[in-house]
């Protein structure tokens, strides 16, 4: 089923709810591998609901329909010297804004600038009853009612169909420079954290097992001052961070399952079999491993965080750390408040959600 206009999409949702059929929401399909596999009755394709609705560079605010390709948004912003501050990964040429927000995907800049959800000012959605709802607005500060816009981020489409999203955008930085330091893993983790505790113009860090990469961005004088302070060699590959973000870097592409572990940034090496790639000052650890899900989840919890099965493996099993009671009940009930008949993406996030 395809819907180009919000009214058409609403009609399709109402019909599905009435017929007790479930819908799998799809945009460009680039995030199909994320989350649990579902067995929905029908596909609701929102890729046709596209286009930038308004972009006001002076206001640093952009509103686009959910099916708008991410590339189209990024090129419109680049023309005016602006960017999406959360540097989202695309994971495919067809990536849409809706999928990016639904999965709350953020790239290398996240620990320094915030996640996708931090830049969402407002959303229009269709709930499970087929009603069109509007949350938030066009301004950064808003405490009129509950912050429902942010609930949509990372909900994997289980609460409703995103129709349009209003984002805060930022000017691009003037100067960029990436430094390399050859280091062992313990030293790399220590150095990332020590630097993150200082007021330095760092906007990305990555460690591939041998080399620590540190991106500096800001005014030319600040970048040069930080470079003198940090030392190291200059990395000359202009595509380095894009390759890390899109998982085209040499580390990625293993046949084993890829896990994504969020842990305390200072956590030492996790002692799991496999190979690790570190980002976000140590807070994000990618892991290719054949270890059991239990062993990986236990290690992540011991390191103050949680683990998600990102690529490969059994998509019918739990991809995310299972929720414990009473949070599980509250989350199930929240799903019901938005989508009482369970029309959307059933089981995508958790078996019961």
């Amino acid at each position: 089923m395809n819907g180009n206009q919000s009214a058409e999409l609403q009609e399709l949702v109402r019909a599905a709810a009435g017929a007790k059929r479930t819908l799998r929401i799809i945009g460009g399909g680039s995030k199909n591998f994320l989350g649990r596999a579902t067995s929905d009755d029908d596909v609701l394709n929102v890729a046709g609901h596209r286009g930038i609705v308004s972009y006001e560079p002076e206001e640093l605010v952009l509103t686009a329909r959910a099916g708008t390709p991410l590339a189209e948004i990024e090129s419109a912003l680049a023309e005016r010297g602006q960017m999406l501050p959360f540097e989202p990964p695309h994971y495919g040429a067809n990536a849409t804004l809706g999928g990016t927000i639904a999965c709350n995907l953020s790239g290398p800049r996240r620990p320094f600038a915030g996640a996708a959800r931090d830049y969402v000012l407002g959303t229009d959605i269709i709930n499970g009853r087929g009603e069109a709802l509007h949350f938030g607005g066009q301004v950064m500060k808003n405490v009129a009612g509950y912050d429902v816009s942010r609930l949509m981020c990372g909900a994997y489409g289980t609460l409703g169909v995103l129709l349009s999203i209003t984002l805060k955008v930022l000017p691009r930085t003037a100067e960029t420079l990436t430094l390399r330091h050859e280091l062992g893993s313990a030293d790399a983790i220590r150095m990332m954290n020590a630097r993150a505790g200082q007021p330095l113009p760092i906007t990305a860090t990555a460690y591939d097992g041998a080399t620590l990469y540190t991106r500096l961005e800001g005014t030319a004088t600040a970048v040069q001052a930080a470079r003198r302070k940090l030392g190291g060699d200059v990395e000359n590959d202009p595509a380095f961070w894009a390759n890390v973000r899109e998982q085209r870097h040499g580390y990625f592409g293993d046949a084993r399952k890829l896990w994504r572990l969020s842990v305390a940034p200072t956590a030492a090496s996790l002692n799991l079999g496999g190979k690790t790639f570190i980002e976000w000052n140590g807070g994000l650890r990618w892991l290719y491993s054949d270890e059991s899900p239990e062993a990986i989840r236990t290690a992540a919890r011991a390191a103050g965080g949680h683990a998600m099965l990102f690529r490969g493996g059994d998509e019918g099993a739990d991809n995310f750390d299972p929720l414990t009671e009473p949070l599980a009940t509250l989350q199930r009930n929240l799903k019901s408040a938005f989508d009482p008949a369970g029309v959307f993406n059933r089981g995508r996030l958790f078996t019961a959600i």
Partner: protein, 459 residues
């Protein structure tokens, strides 16, 4: 007056000296800075999470309304116990549980004041960005309840962007933990941000894990004056659209400048119709370049002058204008109705022009200042409550202020909240379907409707 058996039950949880029931004792816990007052039947001082959970369950068993209260600096009546019942005074849950500089995290109880936290963080080289004007007295719990941010939000964000996780007790007495300690991770739906800004209507926060930011190496203060609001608003857009983001960008309108000129001796340039005060921070090595970038962006039609302060005395002199404002306001009118509306920056001139027109029509003096960088303007209606018709005119005027703001794609509140004061207006901003959904969210957390009832939603 509360039933003696119930009083004994509360005393069993927290100790007899941690429960107040006498009329004179509970009186001070019935107000906030909105000047509304409604005394509770009892005040209970929890000392830990367990106390809060047991108090909430007891209230549920007995159908008692409950309201969590920090230090009462809120301005919309959100902590005023309209139905009486129990006030959970959080001021004795004021421990800084842990400062973890390596992971750049602090864990605090809700009763810690914002200033105490900042003072404890500074020796470690960190700060927590939200700093409302009442920082010396307001609590972190209150900052989270209203998502109160203060001026630094334009660069560093609001509490929602600076909080990793929460421990809380829902209105039903369910104990929950949201977020993940030390990592900015969310499993499932994001309840952390949902609870922040919900004005204590969903759950009572008992512990917060806060994300810390390194203190900047140095900072500079600038002041730019403009002939009128339009030229100042254009400058705000130019300043925000270049890559050096100031961490403070405050605005004072022409009426405020006129008042300062009348009631203080602060020297001001002639012909000033609007003023911007900026602060920028960064590395010592780059700060001059940052100042140059801001001075360049401040240039444009209508600029009278732009001054940069380098010494502490020069900084104080620039801020003297802004600081002279509050005493001057008190000289003019005994009561001010202070609203914190937000509009897109480009709509600021239309907002100020619209407010001037309303001031003329209703014969009410209106003074505007606030956080221009994100369009968050404090609109002050100056009234003398002893003149009955003036208060009535002010009410009508306020009603139109809100319509004006919503017509300019704005919102009723940036950081003060809805509470009681803006309940009558919330349905103008949110559709019935949206409000219904928010009510069903409230119902999930507080099925009996006992936690801070009669707030946010229209009566």
């Amino acid at each position: 007056m509360i039933d003696p058996a119930l009083r004994a039950a509360f005393a069993e949880i927290v100790g007899a000296d941690q429960v107040l029931v006498e009329k004179a004792d509970v009186w001070p816990y019935g107000y906030d800075n909105s000047r509304r007052h409604s005394p509770p039947d009892a005040v209970v001082f929890p000392h830990n999470h367990e106390h809060v959970a047991r108090i909430v369950r007891l209230c549920n068993q007995h159908g008692l309304a409950m309201v969590a209260r920090g230090r009462g600096t809120g301005t919309v009546g959100a902590s005023v116990p309209l139905r009486g019942g129990v006030v959970l005074a959080m001021e004795r849950m004021a421990r800084i549980v842990r400062i973890d500089p390596e992971n750049r995290v602090a864990v605090v109880e809700p009763g810690v004041t914002n200033q105490d936290l900042q003072d404890a963080l500074a020796p470690h080289g960190f700060f927590w960005p939200p700093d409302p004007t009442s920082a010396a007295y307001c609590t972190i719990g209150g900052n989270l309840a209203y998502n109160s941010a203060g001026p630094r939000a334009i660069k560093y964000g609001t509490p929602r962007e600076n909080t990793l996780g929460l421990r809380a007790v829902t209105g039903a007495g369910t104990e929950i933990k949201t977020g993940v300690y030390t990592t900015k991770g969310v499993v499932g739906y994001d309840f952390t941000r949902l609870l922040i800004g919900s004005e204590g209507t969903l759950a009572i926060i008992t512990e917060a894990t806060l994300k810390l930011t390194p203190l900047p190496q140095t900072k500079r203060t600038l002041r730019a004056t403009y002939r009128n609001i339009r030229s100042a608003a254009s400058a705000v857009s130019r300043l925000m659209a270049q890559p050096v983001t100031p961490y403070v960008l405050e605005f004072i309108d022409g009426n405020a400048i006129e008042m300062i000129r009348k009631y203080s001796s602060v020297p001001l340039p002639q012909g000033a119709g609007a003023m911007l005060i900026l602060e920028v921070d960064g590395l010592t090595a780059g700060i001059d370049a940052a100042v140059d970038a801001l001075v360049a962006a401040a240039q444009g039609d209508g600029l009278i002058d732009v001054v940069t302060a380098r010494t502490k005395d020069e900084v104080d002199a620039l801020w003297a204008t802004r600081k002279a404002l509050s005493p001057a306001l008190r000289n003019v009118a005994p009561k001010k109705i202070n609203e914190d509306v937000v509009v897109p920056v480009a709509n600021l001139p239309d907002l100020i022009d619209g407010l001037d027109a309303l001031a003329r029509r209703y014969q009410i003096q209106i003074i505007n200042f606030g956080h221009a960088g994100n369009g968050n303007i404090h609109v002050n209606l100056l009234v003398d409550p002893d003149q009955a018709d003036q208060l009535e005119r002010a009410e009508k005027c306020l009603d139109e202020v809100f319509s004006l703001v919503l017509n300019l794609n704005g919102t009723l509140s940036g950081e003060h909240g809805v509470g009681i004061e803006k309940r009558p207006f919330i349905s103008r901003e949110l559709t019935p379907e949206t409000l219904q959904l928010m009510k069903s969210v409230k119902n999930l957390f507080d099925p009996a409707g006992l936690l801070n009832p009669d707030k946010i939603f229209p009566a």
